[in-house]
Symmetry: C2
Subunit: 340 residues, 2 copies
């Protein structure tokens, strides 16, 4: 085995507002031995995703928070180091929710085998994994894109947004992608083929968005909230669908925000425009996993979709990389390369 210890990143304290590296602690524990029915896994790629901010808070959400001192939760791609499970053999590549650590024991629950011939194995936590399935299920089930409609997607160079926009193009939509910075905007237009690419940091962003959507907005795939939502909201058409997938602009907020209170005005628009706002998480559509993998693997194989990864080296750098993710500093799917 490569190491005699298991390196773990645990939650040292709960952040108030923005997380800092002090909220995390790196510890070493003895490498565990698998008992009968278990496998010992070596983490190769750890996925970093915005939802992890929610797990750091004690606030009630759709999943329990990580406990203080507990290993940070997360999906990872791993190699089977040692198997005492009939379904897995040493050397196989698997994907599972094994957390921010260099090694993990598993009884096989939730562990999926990864085919290294299909695509680079890191995509099992990216375009072919949870973020990809989030994009696919949220857009198709809630967004219900139709040819000729205008689809706006925020965080559009991230793993969810970039796939949302590309599936939108495949379905015949006019796609307007929004991300932070000129580099990202250029990438969306030249690589992803979006019709319009906007930088939400531009001072006249709201006006640019209005110009980019002369027919209004039929689908807004919500990943961010904040000032992007404010620019989108007045442009929503009658019967617009808003899959609410993430609200990264608000994850660090504590307590109520100053007024005016926009809720009554928002609800009046929901009524008069017959908007459909619907939150979801990927597991709500677990039954569609096979459809997702079949379709996205085929699109990848045919060169119809692209993906971009932002790879950070070393588990010890995961906290700083995660903090950067919440600020939009990553460019593409953020993964930590934990071992070769």
């Amino acid at each position: 085995m490569a190491q005699a210890v298991n390196c773990q990143i645990v939650l040292a304290s709960r952040p108030e507002g923005e997380p800092s590296v002090e909220n995390f602690r790196r510890i070493e524990v003895p490498l565990p031995e698998p008992v009968a029915g278990q496998v010992l896994l070596q983490t190769l790629y750890l996925s970093l995703d915005p939802y992890m901010r929610g797990r750091m808070s004690a606030a009630k959400s759709y999943a329990k928070p990580v406990e203080i001192g507990g290993v940070m939760e997360g999906g990872a791609v791993s190699r089977v180091l040692h198997s005492r499970h009939p379904g897995f053999a040493a050397g196989e590549i698997v994907q599972g929710r094994t957390g921010w650590q260099s090694h993990a024991l598993s009884d096989g629950t939730g562990l999926l085998k990864v085919d290294p011939k299909l695509a680079p194995i890191s995509t099992a936590v990216g375009v072919l994994g949870m973020p990809g399935m989030t994009a696919y299920t949220g857009l198709l089930n809630i967004g219900q894109p139709k040819a000729g409609e205008t689809l706006v997607v925020a965080a559009a160079t991230g793993p969810v947004g970039s796939l949302v926009g590309q599936i939108g193009k495949l379905k015949g939509c006019r796609v307007v992608g929004i991300a932070g910075g000129a580099d990202k905007a250029r990438y969306m237009q030249t690589e992803l083929g979006f019709d319009v690419a906007l930088d939400h940091k531009a001072p006249d962003f709201a006006a640019q968005l209005a110009t980019a959507c002369p027919q209004g907005i039929d689908i807004y795939f919500e990943n961010v909230g904040g000032h992007v939502w404010e620019a989108v909201f007045p442009l929503l058409n009658d019967f617009a669908r808003v899959p609410v997938c993430g609200l990264i602009a608000h994850y660090n907020e504590e307590g109520p925000r100053p007024g005016p209170d926009r809720l009554p005005m928002t609800m009046r628009a929901v009524l008069s425009k017959r908007l459909n706002l619907r939150g979801f998480i990927v597991s709500d559509f677990a039954a569609q996993a096979d459809d997702f993998r079949r379709d996205v693997a085929a699109w990848l194989k045919d060169g119809k979709i692209k993906y971009k990864e932002d790879v950070v080296q070393g588990l010890e750098n995961a906290p700083a990389a995660f903090i950067g993710l919440l600020k939009g500093r990553n460019f593409g799917k953020l993964v930590v390369k934990v071992a070769d």
Copy 2:
């Protein structure tokens, strides 16, 4: 003919905040003569409904506002006085959007014949008309009630809310009705058969609602907004559906409301609880009109549903009755009896 003149209620001015009787004006115009292809109608019952407040404002909504000096819009049940239309005969009873006036010309567009043997003709603008169809389509399409779920409905003695709750009972839901005042609460429990009936004017209303919903809320049929929504919101379960049908508490509001801004917190709950907020108006489900009439007529015939009317005498009293409607002063479906 009964009269040589047509009495009309026109919009004299746009209200700022609450409408007053000064925003309306009663005028008399010569009774028109139908030309070939037209019918002359005598209004028997005029329907008064909350949506009319929107038509009084210049603000953009799903329908154009009434122009200053224009006849107030509304649905009515009428008798054919004189027909030059092959599809209608003098003496027949019809329902159409003929407005706040004693007589109207029609070319038959949107005019539906009313069967006086089915139910009292006033129900053609009530339980068997637009409000009934609003309840039926909104609850079944968006609310999607399932046996054992908890359904909360506001304005629950009105024509929409009372049918929502009764259909909810037929579908096996636990139904909690909310209305203003002890009389209405008593009616919901003794006549409509709701499981719990609450008076939203009670000082401890929010606590009463929480007690009434020990399993949380799966469907909230939104007719009102305001403090009822505030009490409902924290009780919504994961995957709760919120058909947004009306927001009568906000119709008289002008401009933004003071903070805090509840929108970010609301959107976070949409995400974490995977709520579905969806606005609708009855015409969105026009294709289901036959289903609606078949089902509700059968339920009425079998005594499975009840309805209550609040009948005001005389077209000249329509403005004051409408102002009372916005304050919840009516008890049951508000109609104006314009002629015998």
